[in-house]
């Protein structure tokens, strides 16, 4: 069956009833690749792309509220540097026009550029069930293992909230600027209260934060010595693997380079 609900309540009811038997479908840029390349065929689809307000991005009380279907093209226009820059490195224009933030979170790849950016700004993920209602969980509790998340089989990702007042920085190392899976990517954020987040993609089974390095900067500030200590800590904290795109040693070294580069960027720039 192919379900194409016109109201979110209907979508939640179908998901609540069918659970993992139904495959939620947004832009399709992950799921349809699997259909094209393998014999895997979802039996039942839950097409979310005809829901009202599915792609809304609104500002609410010091937060950006992204609807599940907000596309990378839309995120690329946000004045939140790390998220916008991450979004613009995803695919090409046609992928960015259809790929969604909920899809990035649902696929939960350790190379998910959007997920890394959200991790750097303490985003919150809204997970909704037909009758239990909505729960909001911090992004750092959302990823639970390789392509595993806190999303339950009878829930849908309905939105993402993030604050508007963090300073952020982003860099992606890859062979090209886009249409290109990261070898390593990093997004860093600083809250107005002085909280520091250093998030990395492609260096562990899940998108991760280097918490010991964060603590060094939170304690000592963005001094040269603290930045170097944080970079050294990052290289110990990450757990990259060798694969066809890069070696573990290269990735580990680049994590240190990105720590220095992005922390210095946060020190120089007062906005963004």
């Amino acid at each position: 069956m192919f379900f194409q609900p016109r109201h979110v309540d209907e979508a939640l009811e179908i998901r609540g009833r069918m659970g993992s038997d139904v495959t939620p479908l947004g832009g399709g840029t992950d799921i349809v690749v699997t259909i094209n390349k393998t014999s895997m065929r979802p039996k039942h689809f839950l097409d979310l792309t005809h829901l009202p307000d599915y792609t809304h991005v609104v500002r609410d009380n010091g937060n950006w509220v992204l609807s599940a279907g907000a596309t990378f093209s839309q995120l690329g226009k946000l004045p939140m540097k790390a998220l916008a820059a991450a979004a613009m490195t995803v695919g090409g224009a046609a992928i960015r026009n259809t790929g969604t933030i909920a899809g990035n979170l649902g696929t939960a790849s350790p190379a998910g550029d959007g997920c890394v950016a959200l991790m750097a700004i303490d985003a919150e993920v809204e997970l909704t069930h037909a009758t239990r209602g909505r729960r909001t969980i911090p992004i750092h509790e959302y990823f639970t293992g390789f392509r595993r998340t806190a999303l339950l089989a009878d829930e849908l990702i309905t939105g993402v909230r993030l604050r508007t007042d963090w300073r952020t920085a982003w860099y992606k190392i890859g062979k090209r600027g886009s249409i290109n899976i990261s070898l390593v990517c990093a997004a860093f954020g600083m809250s107005p209260e002085g909280g520091v987040r250093m998030a990395y993609g492609c260096v562990a089974p899940i998108v991760m934060r280097t918490r010991l390095a964060e603590e060094i900067i939170e304690k000592d500030g963005l001094t040269d010595a603290a930045i170097e200590a944080a970079a050294q800590s990052v290289m110990k904290e990450v757990a990259p693997i060798d694969d066809h795109r890069a070696s573990a040693n290269y990735r580990r070294a680049m994590c240190g380079v990105l720590a220095r580069r992005l922390l210095r960027e946060l020190r120089i720039k007062n906005t963004g």
């Binding site: 069956m1 094209n36 005809h50 090409g92 224009a93 259809t98 249409i179």
Partner: protein, 160 residues
């Protein structure tokens, strides 16, 4: 709204023509266009969103038709390369691709032209960065890109 079994009654608009037909729920727009409607201008190559040869325009936006399932097109408006010319009168992008010699084997050309149309429809005067952001999803493996960029820029100068 849902299917009976795995087929779906698709109602949408393709190149200005109303479509009302049965499709399979996991059939992609690319193969629907090519195999059911005979619109073989739209090409398929990588089938994973990296090459851009399948680019069409859906509700004004460039989309990889290989990554869209037909039922998702319900109520949508699709434009393909076949819809660009007006009778024998070529679209300005088609004219400029010819004039600039922007094709060799031609396999990527329909996708490039549709991506360029989506880009210029949204912004007829793109900056260098916007130009590359709009076109970076379309790969050519034989001409090199200089003639392609020249064709698109000269079309932009005459964009209406």
């Amino acid at each position: 709204m849902h299917t009976n079994g795995t087929s779906w009654r698709l109602q949408c608009t393709i190149n200005g023509q109303p479509i009302d037909t049965e499709v399979e729920q996991d059939e992609t727009l690319l193969f629907f266009l090519r195999d059911r409607l005979g619109l073989t201008g739209t090409k398929g190559s990588c089938l994973e969103g990296e090459c851009g040869s399948c680019t069409v325009i859906v509700d004004g936006q460039a989309v990889n038709s290989c990554l869209v399932l037909c039922p998702q097109m319900q109520g949508r408006t699709v434009e393909t390369i076949e819809g660009l010319a007006n009778g024998d009168k070529l679209h300005v992008l088609q004219e400029k691709f010819l004039a600039s010699g922007a094709a060799q084997c031609g396999y990527c050309t329909p996708g490039l032209i549709m991506a360029a149309k989506a880009l210029l429809d949204e912004n007829p005067n793109p900056s260098e960065q916007q130009f590359f952001e709009g076109m970076e999803g379309n790969i050519c493996r034989c001409t090199g890109y200089a003639a392609i960029c020249e064709a698109i820029r000269s079309a932009a100068r005459e964009w209406k």
